[in-house]
Amino acid sequence: MRKVAIVGAGMSHFGWQPEKGIKELGEEALFNAFKGASVTPKDVQIAYCGNSTGGAVGRQWTMIGQICLKEIGISGIPITNVENACCSGSCAIREAWIAIGSGIYDIAIAMGVEKGTDKPPEERAKAGAGTFDADLEGVMGMAGIGWYSMVAQNYFKKYGNVRDRLSEIVVRSRKNGSLNEYAMRRDLVTPEEVMNSPLEAEPIHRMDCTTLTDGAAAVILASEDVARKITDTPVWIAASALRTGTYPPDFTFTSFTSTISASNEAFKQAKMSRKDIDFAEVHDCFSIAEVIRCEDLGFFERGKYPDAVHEGVTDRDGVFPVNPSGGLLSRGHPYGATGVAQAAEIFWQLRGEAGKRQLNSVEVGLSHTTGGLMLGDSSSCVVNIFHR
């Protein structure tokens, strides 16, 4: 496997954008990725595009990669669309990493895009059934909010009621998101405002939840030979691991197998330990999700993450910053774009280009993205590790 680097990254704004279709969103992210990247669209040899809900809630439900890439003059090359629910974008990165790492290609695009608000909320809610086992769970009203309600209840039962700490996660997320020009939610909130937001499903309040929205992100990947020629600041991909859930019959709702196995695989690939990671972008689709992710990833002991948040460990100036971008809670969650946006944030942080939210002295960052839920387990998870 050859070394592969990211040499450019770009995003569109994330959030409700009725004036833009999916190709305008994609174009914006791609255009921004090429700014200062020292490669042109004509240099790109292969591309992968993550999208998840196009068929369920979007007007454009096939050829999404082709239609977006054509907007900046990329055509004629192999373009593959990737669907793995909310981790589609991270899977697109992984496919591009394999394509270059294998030695077949030298320059690739991995992008993700979602036009999540084409249809009204009730239709989106109905389409949500398909993000579970549609015939066994979705049909009976399973929803992400219900799922994470059960996660929180089981976590509280096992480790104690940490409702106050969940609010602190939201507060920290918004603080970081307020500094991210691409984020959907940039207003600061207080713990009281989190608790006063409408109850969705005990103990989950509205501000504990991300939301499906519009947005796109893109990264340009290059082989080592190319990367060293065109930039002094490549961001290397040390690992890219995808794992699927194993759906244990005695599932606990406080831990998901795909995150554990993907992270173990990623650390093995990278020949690194948890202590080598300086910061992480994790899949905080709900505040309680951030808790179990960080514990499943092995960064914190079981039951200890909420107190670490309280103690400031995960703040931008803490020992282990989590979601300096604001994460899904603040950035918003255009499913197919989320994993690529996480990689873009890590790219900028490692190059010292993250502006007001820049972390101090970071060398290694990890992204974690999950996709789909069923039968007591998370169905897909990607863990990518990047270093300077």
Partner: protein, 131 residues
């Protein structure tokens, strides 16, 4: 809590069944033609127990698909044979409300307009109202 569902036909002639593998003896739900553990296609239909306990449930107050009446409750029920199945969880007689650990019984199977089955559990009659 838990009135949950409208516009569905209640079925009286459907058994609550799964499949048991003749080779490895594992029981799966719903019925399957091939055993996912050992790939044998010698699967026998078996009746499943209608009694169990709520493993975990959630009551949703917002954002439901349009054929659910909010708030509604669903969750995983652990049947007396250890199998966990997902279902809607509605009020029992006299307004008995289920929570995690509550004994429940399968009270109805409904079919929607495209033929999908919905399993409705309610607190068992013997269960003392919990709130």
């Amino acid at each position: 809590m838990a009135k949950s569902h409208a516009l569905k036909t209640q079925l009286h002639d459907i058994e609550f069944t799964g499949s048991q593998c003749a080779k490895c003896k594992c029981i799966v739900f719903p019925r399957k033609r091939v055993c996912p553990r050992c790939l044998t296609d010698d699967m026998k239909e078996v009746k499943l127990p209608k009694e169990g306990k709520v493993f975990s449930l959630a009551t949703l107050h917002h954002g439901s698909p349009d054929d659910f009446i909010i708030p509604y409750t669903n969750g995983y029920v652990e049947l007396t044979n250890g199998l966990r199945v997902f279902g809607l969880i509605e009020e029992g007689i006299h307004g008995k409300i289920a929570k995690a650990g509550t004994s429940v019984s399968l009270s109805e199977i409904r079919k929607n307009e495209i033929g999908q089955l919905l399993y409705i559990f309610r607190p068992s009659n013997k269960e003392v109202a919990t709130e």
